[in-house]
Amino acid sequence: MDNYVNKNNNSKRKLGIYIHIPFCVRKCYYCDFLSFGGCNDKFDSYVNSLVKEIKTEGSRYNDSYVVESVFIGGGTPSILKTVDIARILNVLKETFEIDNNAEISIECNPGTVIPGFFDKIKAAGVNRVSIGLQSALDDELKLIGRIHTYEDFLNTYQMAKEAGIVNINIDLIHSLPEQTKEKYLQTLNKVIELKPKHISAYSLIIEEGTPIADMKYSFPSENEDIEFYELTERILTEAGYNKYEISNFALEGYECKHNIKYWTLDEYLGFGLGSSSMMIMDGKRTRWHNITNLDKYIAGDYSHEDISVIEGREDMAEYMFLGLRMTEGISVDGFLRRYGKSIESIYGDIIAKHTDEGLLKTVDNRIMLTKRGVELSNYVMKDFL
């Protein structure tokens, strides 16, 4: 084996696990994720299949790994019954060694949570909750097809707190239709008042084929989009949040462990329909995703698709463009350790060019995007491919 592999004290490799729940009450107008609205009759059979997958597929890896994070995402995982969520987590515990300090997150839609929900899932092991708020203004929520109001969200948030869940993330989306700077500021202010430990703030991407792409709303211009981005950064930083990744803000010590794995090329294993995995197999980073056909998955087809081995320059490219998403950037020494070559010898020209343009900087032997570089991150990142 080689130096790609992280090892902890008991010499087991660290792992993140992602569980996909592809169901929603209804799809939001902007969503092009793998999820289905109104399939309530399939929940049970899906969970059965999921549990089977974790047992059978998981047993291939369980001996050599200790799980540091679990992320149940979707879709809307909170659409499931709490017993199902508990069942999934129990099977994980039976199949894998889960670290005592593991971060166990679940995504929730405020329109789906009923009293008692958080107590039960907390008892099952969940210690981090990510609530999809997107906007604190009801008219905006309606325009993008959310199923909940701001008040629904507040109730959900309170329930989570009352259940004793400390680590709560709130998801926001800006550059929504008809959104103004003033309206977005209202959302930001309402959110920081609640002092969640973590805030993700994304910019709306209009994906082709989604209903919103055909709607005749006025969308914020590119300039306004930048203003929203800057506003997010200013308001949240002033409120004590630390921007540790392009779209992610956290109070000290509450950075999302699971997400960081994606940016730092750590191993993660996905279960459930269409979920992605990246595992080191025979010393090579290998990526794949599960099949995306729901009925086949329910019938027990766990085949992998788009399997690709990432090595050499491609591996370096990912190391760079994913690492640059992190505010702390890329370690010059880390690169050397990982690849046995200096970052200068591989990317010297590109780094110099973007440093001249004021988009990259090197601080304490780490290479990172400048403020302007973050705004133009795609422009910078693509050069490393």
Binding site: Y202, S203, I226, G270, R287, E375, Y379, L385
Partner: protein
């Protein structure tokens, strides 16, 4: 194969306006004469290049020999000589016609006579051909065969009352056509005992046989071992093989003699030695004089052709060499552009020819190309008395050295239904057309005659014509000559640097308009950079139009969807891919398609 006496031979062609059913009728004739089974028939036997089939036009003429057993019990040899169907290839058409004794004129029963119908009829009459009209597509609901018959008689003056009424597509009336060929079209007249005199009406390069020359023997005989000479080019060679044209195959025979149509292969390396229109004779026993009408085919339209990837320059050169073996009318010479690197200035018969060559280079030779705006040959009269034939705008001398310039003018005939006359006249006016006159073909249709500068019609005139007449106008033109004109070179500056490959020559009255549109177009084509990029159009150093590509403000993907790294990577890769197809001019990256954007200046956005 037995020798045929001349009176059992019919050499003919089919002429028609595009889409009136020429190739389909040819297929039916081949089918009905029974040399091919249906299984052997491709959809259209004659158009054997993929490209031709896709575009529905015949580019390279093909010829087929078939045997027909007529109702009178005799067997006849039919040599069906195919002619290209586009104005770009007018000269080839005229030579193909010269190889025939008769012609079948196909007219669409619904559309009637069109511009190319007339142009082709005139060519056929010039070649002294007997013309047999045929009314096609009689099965269409909108067919008006009687009206079309009258039209043929009124407009062309051909007897049309007993013209076969057919549907080539559905095989109706084909036998009438076959009998008509026997009874109405003349047999060849030639003297087999006179010295060899044969017309070259086509040639092609075959990897195995070398150059294959398509000939119509007027007089004399030719066989293996005959020492031949091309009278215009002076090339000589010894005949290796003679033969007939099967459908898609070459069938060798012992001898070709007067009145027959066939092919010759000889020790000839280059198609350039076997120019269409030239006369083949015997070296030691030459005929007295060559056949009339030979002219060297000259390109009318020029453009720069560059490999998208500079490293592919040798591949492009090889590909052009190979295409040139088959297409002597393609001309090319190396040139260098500051913006595009090494490439070739290529000359074409017309815009269609240009597009065909470009597509063949891309498809058959797998090349990714950048082409510059097509232009014509301008004559530049310098103050020192020198005359330059200008094909590349970059080579225009300094204005102080220019006395005056001339541009090529064409005579154009446009056939259009009366409701669109106004729109078409406006279009011709915009394109600096000079109105010559108008004739009514019938109550609702007129033939407009204009003189137009060639550089106004090579871009998109045909498309504009079609769109302004809802597809009904048809168009034909021929080069008339050169005329003095007030022309200027329009330069494009990107970030204050002149981009040579974007320069073009325009009339001074349209320079501002074109310059403005060009800047607008480029503004859309050039992606945002970190800095602002001015795009300017200039004439003689004076800026006449300007647009600005604003600086990039933001390019961030603020969401990476869960573990789906591949998705983000794909987006980045797409951006990167886009970047590869860019050309670096100074510190600005210009997408390759921007160099072609001049072509689309008249498209409405």
């Amino acid at each position: 194969m037995e020798k045929q006496s001349q009176d059992k031979i019919r050499n003919f062609c089919i002429i028609a306006h595009i889409d009136h059913g020429k190739s389909t009728l040819a297929d039916r004739i081949i089918e009905m004469t029974g040399l091919l089974t249906e299984r052997e028939m491709h959809a259209q036997v004659l158009d054997n290049m993929d490209l031709e089939r896709e575009r529905g036009i015949t580019i390279k003429s093909q010829t087929v020999r078939t045997i027909y057993k007529a109702k009178n019990g005799e067997e006849y040899v039919f040599n069906l000589i195919d002619t290209p169907g586009h104005v770009d290839f007018n000269y080839e058409v005229s030579r193909s016609l010269a190889a025939c004794d008769g012609a079948i004129l196909v007219v669409d029963a619904a559309q009637g006579i069109e511009a190319q119908t007339l142009a082709n009829v005139y060519l056929a009459l010039d070649a002294d051909l007997e013309i047999m009209p045929v009314i096609n597509k009689i099965d269409l609901p909108s067919a008006e065969p009687e009206r079309v018959k009258d039209e043929i008689e009124d407009v062309i003056g051909l007897e049309a009352q007993d013209a076969p009424l057919i549907s080539a597509k559905n095989g109706i009336g084909i036998e009438d056509v076959l009998e008509g060929i026997v009874n109405k079209l003349p047999a060849p007249k030639g003297d087999a005992k006179s010295p060899l005199k044969a017309l070259i009406f086509d040639s092609l390069y075959d990897a195995y046989k070398g150059v294959i020359v398509f000939v119509r023997l007027m007089d004399g005989k030719v066989k293996r071992g005959t020492q031949i000479k091309m009278m215009a080019t002076g090339a000589t060679a010894e005949v290796v093989e003679v033969g007939y044209f099967g459908a898609g195959r070459f069938i060798p025979c012992d001898e070709l003699s007067a009145g027959e149509v066939g092919y010759i292969t000889a020790s000839i390396k280059n198609v350039k030695d076997t120019q269409v229109g030239d006369t083949v004779t015997e070296m030691n026993n030459p005929c007295k004089e060559a056949l009339p009408g030979y002219k060297k085919v000259l390109p009318m339209v020029y453009c720069g052709v560059y490999p998208a990837d500079g490293a592919k320059y040798p591949d492009l050169r090889d590909a052009l060499e190979k295409l040139n073996l088959n297409d002597a009318s393609l001309q090319y010479e190396p040139e260098t552009s500051i913006a595009l690197g090494f490439g070739f200035r290529c000359g074409f018969l017309g815009l269609l020819h240009l597009e065909i060559i470009q597509e063949r280079l891309e498809r058959e030779y797998n090349l990714d190309l950048v082409t510059t705006a097509p232009g014509v040959i301008y004559k530049v009269y310098k103050t020192n008395g020198e005359v330059i034939e200008l094909t590349n705008p970059s080579n225009l001398p300094d204005p102080s050295e220019i006395d005056y310039m001339e541009e090529p003018i064409v005579s154009a005939e446009i056939m259009v239904t009366s409701e669109f006359i106004g729109a078409i006249m406006d279009l011709c006016q915009q394109r600096r057309g000079r109105y010559l006159g108008m004739e009514y073909i019938e109550e609702t249709r007129a033939l407009l005659k204009y003189e137009l500068p060639l550089n106004e019609i090579i871009y998109d005139f045909f498309d504009a014509l079609k769109s302004k007449s809802r597809g009904y106008a048809s168009f034909d033109y021929e080069l008339k000559g050169y005329e003095k004109s007030e022309l200027v070179k329009l330069d494009i500056l990107v970030n204050r640097e002149e981009v040579d490959a974007l320069s073009f020559i325009v009339h001074k009255d349209t320079a501002y308009e074109r310059g403005r549109k060009m800047c607008e177009r480029l503004k859309d084509e050039i992606p945002r950079h970190l800095f602002e990029i001015p795009i300017q159009a200039a004439v003689g150093g004076k800026i006449i139009a300007r647009e600005t590509v604003k600086a990039m403000r933001k390019d961030v993907l603020a969401k990476c969807y869960g573990g789906d790294i591949t998705r983000k990577k794909k987006l980045l890769e797409k951006q990167k891919e886009g970047k590869k197809r860019m050309r670096q001019i100074g510190n600005v990256e210009i997408p390759q398609q921007a160099f072609m954007s001049v072509l689309k200046l008249d498209e409405d956005k």
